[in-house]
Symmetry: C2
Subunit: 305 residues, 2 copies
Amino acid sequence: MNDVSSASKPTVGVVGLGSMGLGIGLSLLKEGRATYGFDLDQQRTEQFQVAGGRVDTLSSVVGKLDIIVLVVVNAEQVKSILFGASGIAVDMKLGALIIACPTMDATDAEEIEARLNEIGLLYLDAPISGGSIKANEGALTVMASGADEAFAAAEPFLSACAERVFNLGNRAGPGSAMKMVNQHLAGVHIAVAAEAIVFGIAQGIPAQKALEVISSCAGTSWMFENRVPHIVAGDYSPHSAVNIFVKDLGIVTSAANALGVKTDLAQAALQRFNSAKQSGLGQEDDAAVVKTFATDAGITLPGES
Amino acid sequence: MNDVSSASKPTVGVVGLGSMGLGIGLSLLKEGRATYGFDLDQQRTEQFQVAGGRVDTLSSVVGKLDIIVLVVVNAEQVKSILFGASGIAVDMKLGALIIACPTMDATDAEEIEARLNEIGLLYLDAPISGGSIKANEGALTVMASGADEAFAAAEPFLSACAERVFNLGNRAGPGSAMKMVNQHLAGVHIAVAAEAIVFGIAQGIPAQKALEVISSCAGTSWMFENRVPHIVAGDYSPHSAVNIFVKDLGIVTSAANALGVKTDLAQAALQRFNSAKQSGLGQEDDAAVVKTFATDAGITLPGES
């Protein structure tokens, strides 16, 4: 009877209450799921608690959790939380589910799945796309792969948090692989949007005019239309930070190198994000990569005096 | 009386009946404009004549033309036709209009305008976007700039051939500058689409699956959605050829260099299109740039055995 009750009313833990993790936690609460939130940042856990979330130490409640959603930075953090010195994997209920959302190399996802399966735990390779606004709305896109049992167990998470779920296969790996392809394109599109906007300004085309014209031409991209408005407004408060693409394009180029795939364009974009980070822009919105092009060209951007 | 009649029923000449020029010529015919077509290729002029177009030698009818639309390859060809050894500019009617459609450096557009104005002719800097299908439908996007008189005189061309006209200023230059920004983005987007598709295939993601997923994610672009289907189909019959982006990214990077703007991403994309051209793919669809990435990575593309 206990099993049936826990299957129909699973208890969920969300590890990492940053802009994405908090949105995921709140979406689960909206669906009436019993949800614990964990973060080292006291302010974030309080924000989650005020919204009705449960707060405790991970080590003391881990045995009660049916699902743990890891919304942390990278594969290293996932491995450390699960298998590190005070790793929680060994303390989880048999058959419990771990869902990992960070962008990571597919080989890391495969390794994590193998280690969890070995000790009787399920794993869903579930990178997310959509940004913090979609996370708050429970409208993320999830590029998921994993065993059928993992998908079934993940239903409470997917129905609360995702607008669209791509099932990319019955093992971990393809979800992460597809997310890397997405970040590869997204990162290059942001960098070239910045490069082209500066090229336009150097020729006397205001960023606002380029945005207006290019958005209805063959040169447009999702990122061009989403990020150039930040440049036009001169507002670099972070929706997604420069540091995210330093990290994600690093994962992409490193995975591609290991596979023998040349990624000249991703490398060029990564160099720009690295250069932005080195200029102290790491915490700014990723559109701030435009400042590196503008500085090199001696161009004044909108909002600069 | 002659003037009024020629203003209300202008005679138009289209120089260059390639895939874009032929579409422009046919669109003018559909609107009932008296239109001459000129091309060195006999088959194309015959195709135009069969559709009701007038055919003659340019030198013998140039004095009758109110508008000449140049749909040739680059600024050098425009200058040669207008000002070369047998250049036509001196033989045109006073006040006649030249419309130039090729992608070119804005400084070339400025120079051509100045030389034409000097001898009493009008000039519209009018690069086009949309491809051969839109050209046939009279539904091009025109990034135009020029004197008010040039815009007014161009009305028969614009109304017959364009779905959307951006008026970018009252002198030649800004039209070409905006077109370069568009080609800058478009060329990089095609190259990175190819790079990312090969990265996906190397990880076991079929091109068709990447197309399906990425098209609804933040990594998408107009070019990704338009060109990846060619890769999925293994069909590289040219809609727009590799050679076009060798040319256009060459113009972009050279103009950017002259302005002191660094274009690492455009340079990386140009190298890929150059490499495709050197492999004998210059006349294939620009999506064939994917073959350079696939060869380097030892990957088999859809449609290859």
